[in-house]
Symmetry: D2
Subunit: 347 residues, 4 copies
């Protein structure tokens, strides 16, 4: 586990603690080198009996078979090549390998240091870690790029419609609502409780960097003609949870919610981490809080021919660390939800 | 003030307390008859020195010139005719007079008792209390039907575009996010902190009863051809505040955000309770918390030809009681924002 | 499981779902008879495949060996005798059997119907279900009365000091802070998010009904001379969690925090559900959220000779349903924390 | 106004905006020099038409008669002497002048740079800005040191008892609960919504730096023999608000709540910003949110001879900026609550 003290790292370690077949054998980091896990997380007991170490590839290879990278964008790609060379299999939680073409990554995340990346080959090889639509490729992958919370939620809502040609690719809107833990554990003013509490506001309305990733994957995995999306994230006064409300034009416009729900049920019938709600029951993020489960519901507006898909998940589990463990399970040939909580402690 | 103990009543009394030209002279209610205001609101000091009384029209007429009705839907219309006969001017916060045609109201709110209403004439006479687009009619009205928080926010966002023909009437989507106080002060399970805290969920996705009201007013006040809207409200874990994110297709599709913002600035230049933010600055509900001000921001997606208008207000002030006082000010020839807070105590 | 739809019932069913040796075979209730579990809890999948039934003792005895009663105070005692007669073992989450003398219960909870209770024998037989201080009695009990969140937290903080005579019995203060889920799932105005959000207030400051229970148990389990407590609960704007800050006079007054911490560590060394933090590290309710673990920390004020014990737990698990499962584990001879989560998903 | 962009500065500017006799004529700061107020606070409209400038004493003296210093501890004392020399009257919101003896300040806040302070004379001259107990001295003061939220709340609760000898000075406990805005606007991890949300925890349990200030002022203003306090602050998941629950031993122990309440009513009868609630009504921070009002309630425990005083206020108004304006009003001979909100917009 590299990047131990952020929320992604905390969740991953916590999940592995109760996983019957995985164990944390190396904790890598930068800011907290030399500190014991116990200091970083006095609330996780018993945590791994480990100190945080510099992420040296040889040391990692000596200790582990699988690596999760939970590092800021642009840093995973400085480490992944060396890990793969040493025969490790890598699941990356950053955006570094989510674009099959390095050039696309550069356009979105470019800037400081982006010019130096020369791993276009790995970008092409990396497998997009959305198990429900990419299981086979994940099973044999050396390098998996897990989508984050926004693309996971949005793609789970959109792909069944795109694949079946039930939605027009033009004019699709994703209105997303997220808790503040999605912004990470670094102290930033707008994520203070005093600022974000009792407030809701949109951000990144024009050209959010997740938009391009979703457009590319919606086209690829959705087997659709190229499309452009409007993606509008909103910051909500809660810790965890992500809800995406996805709008589009039905094709044909008269398609009924019951029919669409039935199609979604078919699509996700054998997916242990995705459930489809009955028509008229809408998902709450609270129903999936601290689980690796996504809940979907489909509605239609017969007056306008629009479809509305609502998708809820926990941004730090199915939207981040849980998805990584789900990918590990697939890579190891284990039942896909091994060690993953699927039912919440409500409320 | 009739309907004193709900949130609408509390806000109205509080606003009038610091209003230089209004005074609360009668408190009417049902559940709390005989109780002193001080018991209902130990936190409002000094509140009016009044006991809650049965809303008898003669007693009201003897005590007051203006009446605010803050009653459940269907009840205002049992009282308003008698009040108007006695020469009182009435501002109603319920939906009873928001539809020019009684028949439309029946379709949406019909059910128990709806058949008995026989005040189609008053429905036709009542003025829709959205000051920014109906000031002149409000000034001379006997009966004003104030729009609630969802229609106010949505119409402030939509009308400038519709009036100028800058948006296609087809396919407009209103994705709204509201605090739980919009659900009123009656104890209901889904509004408990334990249920609504740390959660976001959509509700009323298909055929919410505010949709029809917005469609009719958007057509009338927006001088548009008839339109159908997709309106999706979401319940958020906060007390106050409403944000509407409104999506539509631009006409022409290449219109720029700066140009649209300029049009919004023109529209609202002389409106003391509405402000337009610069391009790229998005409104937080916290910026208008406990004020009678609405904040708007306009963005565009050049790839898709879509416009995104974001509108924030306080659901209990500009979305309810503050708007009633704003209407009173207009009816009395006072400066429109008299006694109304416009700047928040942040955070 | 009797009383399925409240928070106690929800937690119990959820815990049993992932318990390796327990299974829900009967769901009893009053308000929701005939409804399927799936309707009550669409978020718990897969829940038990059961409909809620009237809690008929014969039907319960036919289906189950162990019963959890999660009913309002005064109702458990109308059912427990019949269940015990049929050879079932019962864990009660209400206050009905927490007082060894029925008379004490009557003084605190008396009123409607209290006069009719004639099960003084069962009151005397019932075992107080605080495993850390009553394990042996629980192991062989027919009837266990689990303490709720406030007494559990307070007694875990106080008993080590009382047993060792390190605190004066006079003048002890328990200042407790609780999330709103402790108030149950029934809709009540003061528990609405709009009311309880962004607020803190004390309640029941004089003679809260938990005070007497704590006084009796502190005397009995603490082997102390009779004592009177000041207990002040506060309602906090959060869903789950309970923190008690307990104050008293040290005996001798010069006792150091390190020494007391060492004594607490000794006391709880073999208790899997209680941990003691190092001096200077104070517990957050978030560190135990959705776990069955209590965290304690001890501080002293050398200027005043006071001891301050801080204790945090999850009010619905270690403070309610988790404690019931912990008692079941003991009654069945299983490892005490079987099926109980001890590490949180932070944040 | 010096220190414009923190919460203290924001509140002060907002209050002055609606004050009939004060105007902001100079905005000083460090981090944000050169920026226009409008950028710092897009939500405050119309704010002062000013840019933030270096706090040069001559420039300040040229622009203003009164100065509010809202700077980090240790910085006010580098500026105040020069301002006083130029004839300005200063209200300081930091701790720099809250101790009559510089030596006491050094002991508590000492460390980097503390040794350099040589303004012991000013420390002795400065008036402690608690209007309810120090009005006359404030009226003529050149330099007022406003107490912050914890001492204000605690002293309002304690002083009536101490002055009348109704409480023993030994063993007093202040258990305080505060919203996160009290921690300021600087980004710090533990104040993130993701960390502080859905959590309560104590901090600074041993030797919090406010304790000494309260002890000294309780002795001085309370006309008591020297006393030592136990002060335990807790961080709560809310933006604003402070509740102190104060415990002590009554003298005589049989004193009744009604009698004590009557004494409190007498003490605060002519204080416009403090109200005393009837016996059995306990204050919520929500009842004073965004007001300059403190609410008190007194209870007793006849079994233990203890008194419990509960005091609630808004930490940023009566606990900070509102108190500064209250002091200004007194210094200018204005009615004390001029321009200060006293009634909340509930909820």
């Amino acid at each position: 586990m590299i990047g131990a003290s952020g929320y992604g790292g905390l969740q991953t370690v916590r999940l592995i603690q109760s996983h019957p077949h995985l164990r944390v054998t190396f904790l890598g980091g930068h800011g907290s080198v030399g500190r014991h896990w116990r200091e970083l997380a006095p609330f996780l007991d018993p945590g791994p009996d480990l100190h945080v170490a510099q992420p040296d590839p040889d040391a990692i290879a000596a200790a582990a078979d699988l690596v999760v990278l939970s590092l800021p964008n642009g840093q995973a790609s400085t480490l992944a090549p060396a890990l793969l060379e040493r025969g490790l299999r890598v699941v990356d939680l950053s955006a570094d390998y989510r674009f099959p073409r390095l050039e696309d990554w550069r356009q979105v995340y470019g800037g400081h240091g982006a010019a130096e990346r020369a791993d276009a080959g790995l970008c092409a090889e990396a497998v997009y870690g959305l198990p429900e639509f990419n299981r086979q490729a994940i099973a044999t992958a050396r390098l998996v790029a897990c989508p984050g919370c926004f693309p996971t939620t949005s793609l789970l809502a959109l792909l069944p419609l795109l694949q079946a040609g039930l939605i027009l690719p033009e004019g699709i809107i994703i209105d997303a609502k997220t808790g503040t833990s999605g912004g990470g554990r670094e102290a930033r003013r707008h994520l203070l409780l005093a600022e974000a509490g009792e407030a809701v506001a949109p951000y990144g309305v024009e050209g959010h960097r997740h938009t391009r990733e979703m457009e590319i994957q919606a086209t690829t995995l959705g087997r659709s003609r190229p499309l452009r999306l409007q993606f509008t994230p909103h910051l909500l006064p809660m810790v965890r949870g992500l809800l995406a409300t996805v709008y589009g034009q039905l094709s044909p416009p008269s398609c009924a919610a019951a029919q669409l729900t039935s199609h979604f049920l078919d699509t996700y019938r054998h997916q242990p981490c995705v459930d489809v709600l009955p028509v008229g029951v809408y998902p709450s993020t609270k129903w999936v809080r601290q689980t690796n489960r996504a809940l979907l519901s489909v509605a239609t507006n017969p007056h306008t021919g629009q479809v509305i898909v609502m998708a809820a998940l926990d941004n730090l589990l199915k939207g981040q660390a849980g998805q990584a463990v789900q990918c590990f399970n697939i890579m190891l040939g284990l039942p896909e939800s091994t060690g993953l909580p699927l039912a919440p402690f409500y409320p």
